[in-house]
Symmetry: C2
Subunit: 218 residues, 2 copies
């Protein structure tokens, strides 16, 4: 059981790596491993053994000295820590290119994130069927979102509309948002916001390429 220890300030990086460990363990299980050492796990993910152990130690002690961590069990522990050992109802707002792609994205549902509602403000899209889900009018968010017990909203509308949509979903009671629009959304302190901004990632690559040669001057 994922223990309730004093899990006060867990850093974003640690949570991020937990996701990475989880994927690694999935692969290890498939490959037939029963146990895995922090050393081996770290090597696979280009991390350090100490980091793996420290990350896990925030949540409990899951390993056996001299042996390592039990693959299956650790997977379950991490799933529980991350909250992915259950289903979350998701609403998708905006059925443009990105939105449509996400509806068909299988990894989504595999991890327990189930798209229950799809919204758009385009009359031509409202009522249409996307993978079995009828597109609703954004105007109906306030009633539909609580009704369907939605925990997470995924925003895939154009940047210009994003803040308004964001305010709307929060109004409807959503407290976790994944934003694909290329803008910085403003949310209250009790709302969790994550951004997926491919322009920023490309700019990072562009920076790296431009500064390839360490550029030591002066």
């Amino acid at each position: 059981m994922a223990t309730n220890r004093k899990l006060r300030k867990i850093s974003d990086s640690t949570i991020h790596r937990l996701s990475i460990y989880y994927r690694a363990l999935l692969a290890l299980e498939k490959e037939g491993y029963d146990t895995i050492s922090s050393k081996e796990l770290a090597k696979r993910e280009k991390l350090t053994p100490a980091q793996v152990r420290k990350d896990l130690s925030f949540f409990g002690s899951f390993g056996t000295r001299g042996l390592g961590y039990p693959v299956k069990q650790l997977m379950q522990e991490i799933a529980e820590i991350l909250g992915i050992n259950r289903a979350w109802n998701v609403a998708l707002i905006g059925v443009g290119n990105v939105g449509s792609a996400l509806v068909s994205y299988k990894e989504f549902a595999k991890q327990g994130f189930v798209i229950r509602l799809i919204f758009d403000n385009d009359q031509r899209k409202i009522g249409s069927n996307h993978k079995g889900i009828i597109v609703s009018d954004v105007a109906d968010m306030a009633s539909l979102i609580p009704e369907h017990n939605i925990s997470i909203a995924v925003i895939t509308v154009p940047g210009s509309a994003a803040q308004k949509v964001c305010d709307g979903v929060i109004e409807s009671g959503v407290r976790a948002i994944l934003n694909f629009a290329p803008v910085n959304l403003r949310v209250p302190n009790d709302v969790f916001l994550r951004n997926e901004n491919m322009a920023i990632e490309l700019e990072h690559l562009s920076f790296s390429l431009r500064n390839q040669e360490p550029m030591i001057a002066e």
Copy 2:
């Protein structure tokens, strides 16, 4: 001019924020601002004034004491630092749901990232036209990528195929990769890799929701 100072170890966070500043400045310019203080800029992006100044100071001194930073000029400086004051040729590998969405994504080209080539291994897709670009066979990467002067590869193939595709584009001379496949790619040290993994972001949200109440036990 973006100066060539001793820009040795710039942290990822700083580069990330540079992208954020750039977007903020775009908006400020539209709103008619000529200058902006670190205080104001920080307030808009929920950062601290000191952070803004420190970030910028790694690259030069662009402000005027008592006044602030000139909006237009600072934008250009950052564009130069990030390397987005020019065009980069991009190849897209994999025309599934995500790949198709990216081809139509306008922000892409706006920032100077121009998709020149599209690859797939599905015979039914090869030869088809996506927004004016004919889909090529992945088997032809080795010749086409150098020919078209591609700097960045965007990988949108299923996880199972991603590592092989990754090895292929590196073989063809690409040194910057944006990976959408939900796997940890292995690349040599001189290749820049960024990951866009929406499952991980969702898991982060899931973690936050699950631990909403600080969970102080023991």
